[in-house]
Homo-oligomer: 766 residues x 2
Amino acid sequence: MASVQDISVSAVINLISALVFLLAFAIARLQPINDRVYFPKWYLKGIRASPRSSGSFVNKFVNLDLRTYIRFLNWMPAALKMPEQELIGHAGLDSAVYIRIYLLGLKIFVPITLLSFAVLVPVNWTSGETLDHIEDLTFSNIDKLSISNIPSGSKRFWAHVVMAYVYTFWTLYILYKEYKKISTMRLDFLASEKRRPDQFTVLVRNVPPDPDESVSKHVEHFFRVNHSDHYLTQQVVYNANKLAKLVEKKKSNHNWLTYYQTKYERDPEKKQKIKTGFWGLCGKSVDAIDYYTTEIEKLTKEEAEEREKVKSDPNAIVSAAFVSFNSRWGAAVCAQTQQSRNSTIWLTEWAPEPRDVYWDNLSIPYIQLSVRRLLMAVALFFLTFFFMIPIGFVQAFASIDGIRKVLPFLKPLIDMDFVKSFVQGFLPGIVLKIFLILLPMILMIMSKIEGFTSLSSLDRRSAAKYHLFVIVNVFFGSIITGAAFEQLDRFLHQSPTEIPKTIGVTLPMKATFFITFIMVDGWAGIAAEILRLVPLIMFHIKNTFLVKTEHDREEAMDPGSLNFSVSEPRLQLYFLLGLVYSVVTPILLPFIIIFFAFSFMVFRHQIINVYDQKYESGASFWPDVNRRILIGLVISHLLLIGLLSTKDASQSTPLLIVLTVLTIWFHKFCKGRFESVFVKFPLQDAVVKDTVERTTEPNFNLKEYLQDAYLHPVLKGVDFEVLKELDDEEKNSLVATKRTSRRSSKTVSNGTSEDQKMVSEIQLVF
Amino acid sequence: MASVQDISVSAVINLISALVFLLAFAIARLQPINDRVYFPKWYLKGIRASPRSSGSFVNKFVNLDLRTYIRFLNWMPAALKMPEQELIGHAGLDSAVYIRIYLLGLKIFVPITLLSFAVLVPVNWTSGETLDHIEDLTFSNIDKLSISNIPSGSKRFWAHVVMAYVYTFWTLYILYKEYKKISTMRLDFLASEKRRPDQFTVLVRNVPPDPDESVSKHVEHFFRVNHSDHYLTQQVVYNANKLAKLVEKKKSNHNWLTYYQTKYERDPEKKQKIKTGFWGLCGKSVDAIDYYTTEIEKLTKEEAEEREKVKSDPNAIVSAAFVSFNSRWGAAVCAQTQQSRNSTIWLTEWAPEPRDVYWDNLSIPYIQLSVRRLLMAVALFFLTFFFMIPIGFVQAFASIDGIRKVLPFLKPLIDMDFVKSFVQGFLPGIVLKIFLILLPMILMIMSKIEGFTSLSSLDRRSAAKYHLFVIVNVFFGSIITGAAFEQLDRFLHQSPTEIPKTIGVTLPMKATFFITFIMVDGWAGIAAEILRLVPLIMFHIKNTFLVKTEHDREEAMDPGSLNFSVSEPRLQLYFLLGLVYSVVTPILLPFIIIFFAFSFMVFRHQIINVYDQKYESGASFWPDVNRRILIGLVISHLLLIGLLSTKDASQSTPLLIVLTVLTIWFHKFCKGRFESVFVKFPLQDAVVKDTVERTTEPNFNLKEYLQDAYLHPVLKGVDFEVLKELDDEEKNSLVATKRTSRRSSKTVSNGTSEDQKMVSEIQLVF
């Protein structure tokens, strides 16, 4: 158990490492050579051009203006400066609402912290009876400020119960206000949006086969009959998965070709040879440039054939379609109603926006979907509770004995002292770490198997799975040490009243652990996020070998995006910790507040300057966020009940159960009150928007506008070759504008980031 | 523990009492004087008239034709004769589907019984190791046929596990088929129905207040804008609760007036006096006929005033309305979509049919509704688990000592031996019995407080509450003796794996108790149902004192109806018992089969000849029935797991958990596959019906047809006085038809019931 000194030391270490990251970031971002790593969002918006194209040779790579280094932290006020409304326009509602989660954390925990330090800390501190005379290693000064310091059966526990009430009501109040605010933001966002194809379109799945008609005709007839006044057009879905793979492969080959061509240009003497066999390790050695040129030619031909086949073969059409209506009202009605008496066919739902569609999952029959969900639910259960078993096997295999047995020829190697200590010391940890890094990917694959049809819903589902994993394996796993399946076993053999006691009693002792965790994962981790080390390195590698044109440089730029499926559940852990410890060990709260404040600034900076979202779902994840915070609240109540009943204060149990019931009721209330805003589209709003549009643009040809909106991206011919040509054409016509922006961006790169922001903002407004 | 002999004795006793009821029924129903008690359905349909109006004086009251008595059981084949399609037309889909639940019981349990007797009974019987040498009172011959007879750790338990699989899959298969069949029946029923106001109408609740417009105008404007092509008309809801009470009071006074007039006519000498005070016990003595005549005059005036007030006062209009559309498509769309961005106002739902509307609940605001549901959920919890506490108090009060203390003046009375033994022996039981009789009413009041807007949904909600009560207090309460709150306490302090063991181990011992229960409650209870003792007595009392006109006689007739909220949860207990004991003690199954078969016949007879449903919901209760049977199946798995793990066969646990998971998945699957049929109305069907109607009746004035469909019944002027006048008029015009039906019904009452049925059927066809 760590004392105040230990915590201080840890805090200092982590603060220093966070500062190092921040300094590194401050320096790296001012170098023109890194400009595309730290400001990709502005490049993508087309209002920032490379600062490298002007100035002296050295200035192209290194920023020599020392004045700019002094104010190395002033990205922070800059990040806070953009008003929210502008932020929504700039980065989308998803991002703007996402960073509001951090703000929500501040809104909830700042008053709670103040109250805790005003009320609970004195109550705990002055009750110095229990721990003073226990000379035990498991207690430290920190515990004097926690509930552990209060003797069993004390009347002082009433203070904690009252505070649990105050905190719960405060949290619910803030959550209610926030939910209301966000639902209004969403509706305003949807209302203020420009015309978008998904506003008029409904995704129809499980189109039943018809022996006499093609899918296309069948869909058209069905909707012409059942939505006679509103049907406009439809777009069938082609199974273009094979084609997409060919395009992907061609692109990869093209990259290799560029790589070898670049190498050849730099050193024309050396012949570029590759081997054609497995992973370039074996097989015949051929000239690389020739090889890739012929490969690309071959693939181009194959691709053209496949493209023809997809468009002409009726079997390439899957049993799904995007049906468009002549008004938002018609689409809203179709999305919300049941079409057929068999509720497993003609399933309609609001179409995701075109770039949000996950094409592979559009044609899964209902019964198969149902079976897939069952299997994935079972798999998730085993993954959450039993993942340590296969990891244990691999770890056993990765031990000295394991390697000796299975790979005897490695024996001389592993008998070396250095290798031995590495294998013993690091390998098991690395195996676990690799699994944890792979986990989000595994969960995403599971969500894909479950058959969701949009990237946003896939993200939300993966987040739900990851949240379960985090609660079970990080939160409970840290409190009750032991693998999850051991916990599960223990819980199965304990009574429901015993479980909260078991956890509750160890709760105060784990406070220092979680404080350290917050500093390592929360503070230093977030500071590392802003440095973007991996994209930085990747960009420079690509820049060196693959970039020939401006378009290639655009491609090499990896703005990344908010990874909702991972970051949101992690973030929820901090809410959970805050809520659980707000009554038990209030000293933990300031650490959480710093986390929320710091993350808020970092992510606000990132979404303004870096991230480029892959889709825009209009904050449809908010019901999940709200629910998970409420889950945290319920867990905090149950653990407090357990803790107090081990402290001879079990008469408070009914009082706290009332809070739990209230919280669950609040969840139901919020669900009924707000959730439909995130799922349905109210007809009133649809009518308003339709009417406005009909008045302002009476002659707009909607059918033409929607014609190809929902074509599979590879069929649109938007593969990289076409893009490149477009890019070249664009360049010529846009030379003048680019020049101006280059000139202004020169000022940008030499000025402070605050100035940069201002300039960019002005550019944005114009 | 009862032996086979005990069971046989009990079976004989119950069979005899059932036979006595059946004989009494057979005799009573043949008496012309009872004709309106046993065949009210046909009277209400207007195709049967009283057999008392012809024949000799004695024949009017007693059936002297001895031949008809011989075949006293032939109502049974008659009950089975009507084909299902005709039954739906005759009694409605609700009733026809309700009796299919009994049929479902037979479909599930007959094959299970056969298999059990072919496989499990021999397996249990031949394993005579355990119980032979235990000379214990708790085991009997019956246990030799049960799982108790198999020694711990025996390989024979595999037979039980395999059978659990077979039974579960069979049950799920039958449930799936039945759900499919019933959803088709529902859709066909809805499709084949004649034009009905609710097909075009949507109930709109929580109309927001508007300072400038009346509710009526506000509703009209809102829907004219948002459903411009489909809106037809609307009907606001008046708060006519006070008026309804006045009408009710007037009717009651009218009954008393008739009563005293009849008495006066019989004995004109005696003056009819009543006291005007509390319950007629004190106050001034006045002439009864004068008193009621003036009372009725006064009430008539008050009623007229109130009627005027309701129609003119804008405050009497509540914030709800029935909005009608010009097509079924329009109504279906409006019912299924969200209207406003605030999802707590302008709530639309499919309107219940006019007689199904529960008028009092139409204007509850959303937040209040939400609070009410929370309070009722808490109340239900306490009612289910802690109802024994207040009952215990009352019982303590109702004991000798309690009475002595509180009512000392009764001391001489209760010191009498007879009174003493009565108080000691019966009073506690009677207190409990009174509570159990009141329980359905209490649950119905709770459902009403929850704010449901139709009688059918109130019934479904009450049934759900009653089902919980039956499972906890009857099923688990009988297995683990002790009050429910003691069970709850025990479960809270036992581990989740321990609970099924505790129950599982006592399961086989309780088999004989449940067999007796089935015979008493199931066999004799159902036989008592058909005798209709209470309606029989009530009818004769009313007939003697209140009936003056034919209409009065019609009023005195109480056809009753299927009380879904009580009978369905009770019925579910038999499914639960059958599923639980199918593997454990198969000898119980034949008793359940007899129950289902006998009930099927009785209720088929009742819905053909007696019951008159208050509403028609189109079998919308089926999802509940399906879910509850699945709950029974899951309980049976969990108890089997518990039982087997006490028998050293816990290696079967994972296998049985697979079954549980499968069952829960099946529930979800069914919900997705079928439930929307019971909640929504598919647009395809709406379009078909609209098109047909538009073609066949292009000039139908729908607006006029719908104008007053959803007026509060008391505002329609359909109070009894008006009816009486109508009745008199009708009589004159319908004399001829009545005559013929009387003649034919004379044959009916003299003939056998089979003949009766045939005649009635012929009348029905014509």
